[in-house]
């Protein structure tokens, strides 16, 4: 791949870019829409984000997504649609994946939030982060933090035996069989504009199978 500087200045090479996207360090440029002149009474709450406690006094209109990006400068979590339709904003709340754009931060008093920045242990990537790089589970990287957080939760849902719409004979409570259809159905809340789905499914499959063994 050609990595020379072009007329617009420095261009990171793809591998560097991929690694920062997977680790969640790429800053987004979308503004917050929660600020407005007639701010109402603020509300106190305490959230734990990636293991750190934050005591906050917030306009209740601030979404969890805007809190993370605009107040805590955790810009790994992305804003795609802001309406629950794309999954770019997926984070873990008490271990469960949710769309951070469709929830108010003040509703998470006492909750434990994990974002893409909280997955790696120091320099060691989370197995899913490593697998996304290994299997080319991304191109532009914008959806990637959401995809990875979603996939982390998917693995624990599988462990807990949670069914999906494509699980056969749901009434039988049998152990799950991890097919590609299951992965695709369970990841359908994370849209990838670049269409990196083949790599995403392969990355998740590799980690899921590694864990089973």
């Amino acid at each position: 791949m050609n990595t020379s500087n072009d007329a617009r200045g420095f261009r990171p090479n793809r591998r560097e870019f991929v690694e920062t996207a997977v680790a969640g360090a790429v800053a987004g440029a979308l503004p917050s829409d929660a600020q407005s002149p007639a701010a109402p009474a603020s509300t106190e709450c305490t959230l734990r984000v990636n293991g750190e406690t934050h005591r906050l006094d917030l306009d209740p209109r601030v979404s969890l997504l805007d809190l993370l990006r605009e107040h805590l400068q955790l810009t790994g979590t992305k804003k795609g649609c802001d309406h629950g339709q794309c999954g770019a904003c997926t984070v873990l709340v008490n271990g469960r994946r949710i769309n951070s754009c469709l929830t108010f931060a003040v509703m998470h008093d006492g909750d434990e939030i994990t974002t893409i920045e909280g997955l790696a242990r120091g320099a060691e990537l989370h197995p899913l982060q490593a697998a996304f790089i290994e299997h080319d589970g991304l191109q532009c990287g914008y959806c990637t933090p959401g995809q990875i957080c979603s996939a982390v939760a998917l693995l624990s849902e599988l462990k807990a035996g949670a069914p999906s719409f494509v699980t056969p004979n749901i009434a039988d409570l049998k152990p799950l069989e991890l097919t590609e259809d299951e992965i695709r159905e369970r990841m359908s809340g994370n849209i990838c504009r670049c269409g990196a789905y083949v790599g995403i499914v392969a990355a998740i499959r590799s980690v899921a199978e590694g864990q089973k063994a």
Binding site: S36, S63, I98, F104, L154, G189
Partner: protein, 327 residues
């Protein structure tokens, strides 16, 4: 977004008292519909009452059936072993809706009250919408109406109720429990057809709190299925869906059929005519076609949605056929 104050009561009594403070108050469960509508400028509450600390997260045996608390997440309801094994159609219908992320947040009470996805309702830059602005007209009747109703619509509104879960609840004869004051509302009376008051979606009164959903005992509940036809395989609202529960005799004759349709009306639609025609019959192809045809006989298509009439008939036939193989 219009500024609002936020509170998070711990008891049902406090929540109900807080809701008495006026018309601009809204309860919030998962927030996945309300916050979306606030961002769109369709909803403008001045006070929000968060229900998530209320003791309404139980799934328990009740009168031989099950009681599911209003604040149980859609995920927890769908995954519960008693729901899966006794009422698999409900698990399937919930899992057919939205995405894992949304279902983790969405609550049973909020799902019951989710509003229509009519494009003109959702976007206030359209002036005409009788549901959003009573008396302003209906942009969908003369506009693009592919997702709209074929049954029970009026010349005021042709929107559909979009919930998958509600279709299964109707087929299961569920009962919605309400407080402020206490009341039981059977699913079949919960949602309303538009008539001349399309701004009113349900028979819940303002300020009333949904506390639980009761499922009656249905010994043949395992013989059930939810099918959903949509524009893509996952993460899309239904064009047409059907929940079917069958009580059959060993010789294959249907004793009783419960059939409910989604995506066709402003309420989940109980196919009582089809049910009557199927009772006591062995459901061969002709019987099924006749039953589905009778149900859809009063259907009316608009410019872009007439295809739903034939689609609904085929979905009824297919769902009864697959329910016969289930359980």
């Amino acid at each position: 977004m219009t500024p609002f104050t936020y509170s998070c009561p711990k008891t049902i009594e406090e929540a109900i008292v807080a809701a008495e403070s006026g018309p601009d108050v809204r309860f919030i469960g998962g927030g996945t519909n309300l916050i979306d509508l606030m961002k769109m400028g369709v909803e403008h509450p001045r006070r929000i009452i968060d229900l998530n600390k209320l003791p309404l997260k139980m799934i328990e045996e009740h009168n031989g059936g099950l009681r599911i608390g209003a604040l149980v997440s859609n995920t927890d309801a769908a995954n519960h072993p008693l729901v899966r094994s006794r009422y698999p159609v409900l698990s399937q219908a919930i899992l057919a809706g939205a995405t894992q992320q949304l279902r983790n947040k969405a609550t049973m009470g909020g799902n019951l009250l989710q509003r229509t996805r009519c494009y003109y309702f959702y976007d206030p830059s359209f002036e005409e919408c009788n549901k959003r602005r009573p008396g302003s007209g209906c942009a969908a009747i003369k506009g693009y109406n592919r997702i709209h109703a074929i049954l029970g619509a009026s010349d005021q509104c042709i929107a559909v109720q979009p919930s998958d879960m509600c279709v299964a609840l109707l087929a299961l004869d569920a009962v919605v429990q309400v407080d402020g004051p206490p009341r039981s509302i059977p699913m079949r009376d919960f949602h309303r057809l538009p008539g001349s008051t399309p701004q009113i979606d349900t028979n819940l009164q303002p300020g009333q709190l949904i506390t639980a959903i009761d499922l009656p005992p249905i010994p043949y509940g395992r013989r059930s299925v939810y099918i959903k036809v949509r524009d893509r395989n996952s993460f899309a609202f239904a064009l047409v869906s059907v929940a079917t529960v069958l009580d059959t005799r060993p010789d294959g004759v249907i004793r009783k059929a419960h059939i409910a349709l989604g995506g066709v009306a402003m309420k989940p639609w109980r196919a009582t005519k089809a049910e009557q025609l199927l009772a006591g019959k062995k459901p061969d192809e002709n019987t099924l076609r006749a039953a589905a045809g009778a149900e859809l006989q009063p259907a009316k298509g608009y410019r872009d949605n007439a295809f739903k009439i034939e689609l609904a008939k085929r979905c009824i036939i297919r769902s009864v056929q697959s329910a016969l193989r289930a359980g």
